[in-house]
Assembly symmetry: C2
Homo-oligomer: 194 residues x 2
DNA sequence: TTCACTTACAACTATTCAGTTGGAAACATC
DNA sequence: GATGTTTCCAACTGAATAGTTGTAAGTGAA
């Protein structure tokens, strides 16, 4: 039998991503990750180190992967709204990132200042600022944080939505439209002379 | 020695609140709750049942308490903004509720349809609707969800804020002002003829 | 005082879980 | 094909950890 180290690593990382997304750091089970990947758990310790190191690897890998999946295009408030909508769609189709982001906030608190992470978010804010000419960096970050908060929280707070608005056909599309509309309004108000 | 059942229950509930807020359901330790309360852990099972039942009790108790602590007063978009601001202040001073709400969303998913809980949120939406005459229930819920999302996510996603906007003196006040302003704008736009 | 009930705790059980070890099979290189 | 290295797993270890039990002591009512 031929060894395929990369495949083994990928299997483990994928399984770990699913496990951490579902249960967080404390709730995740190393045995479950290994079983789900069909690989002996000893491999995890060889390739990724301890549990929390694996968690950090998972989060970093995922965020870096998302970088290109939802690009910012166009210009003006409508472009900002369009970006919010596409981000909403992405996080709805795959709730991994929203869940990991909130797990991180809750379990790890102020995340370690990872250089790659800082650069990633910085580039994102800069690009967003280009979307809204005349808006300063702080306000661009403020608006972006608002968008990110709303679209990431949606899959996580589905139960609250059920309580406050109630389940209905097309509820998701409704929420999406509201977030897009709100984003456009916020962006417009932030523009010079808005 | 005279038994003081209520005091014992309160000690346990307070300790459990702190523990669950800090570590969530999976991360919380029954032994730690008992030790922190200075009470034998067997009492927990007698008074509150299993771990997840205790969690539900903690969350319900806290939410009900908050109802009175941050009342909705006045009328119109400014009143909505004022409510958002006071909610922000409350959750900033005590991050218990934001954390518990997100723990619930992540760990328990769609929460059990607790009758008291349904009634609580229903009353909240109804009261909010009175704040904005002419706005229907669905839109009132939509706006309320947006407010609740933004003010609850703030203490949990502090690390993201650091990445996107950056730490600075008065950053918190800045974010608060932005959320209040946004809330007023959203509420105004939702009013008939807005 | 007696009896039924409640409060409380120390000690226990049975299980789960992160992390390790020893060794076997596959591979690479000379 | 001999030698050293890498991949892999079954089985193990030791530490928690949720939940229980046995018992003693306090309470209240007859």
């Amino acid at each position: 039998m031929a060894w395929d180290t990369e495949r083994t690593k990928r299997l483990l990382l994928d399984a770990a991503t699913a496990e951490f997304s579902a249960h967080g750091l404390a709730g995740a089970r190393i045995d479950r990750i290994a079983a789900s990947a069909g690989v002996n758990k000893e491999r995890i310790y060889q390739y990724f180190g301890k549990k929390d190191e694996l968690f950090a690897t998972v989060l970093g890998t995922r965020l870096r992967a998302m970088m290109d999946e939802v690009p910012m295009t166009g210009e003006g408030p409508e472009a900002a709204g369009d970006y919010a909508g596409r981000l909403f769609d992405h996080h709805l189709a795959d709730t991994t990132i929203p869940r990991l982001v909130f797990w991180e906030g809750l379990e790890r608190g102020a995340a370690a200042t990872d250089a790659a992470r800082v650069a990633y978010h910085d580039a994102k804010v800069q690009r967003f600022q280009e979307l809204l000419p005349g808006v300063d960096r702080a306000m661009a970050g403020e608006i972006l944080l608002t968008i990110v908060t709303l679209v990431n929280a949606w899959p996580v707070l589905a139960h609250l939505d059920g309580y406050l608005v109630g389940a209905s056909a097309g509820r998701t599309a409704e929420r999406r439209a509201f977030i897009v509309k709100t984003t456009v309004a916020i962006a417009r108000a932030a523009l010079p002379g808005g």
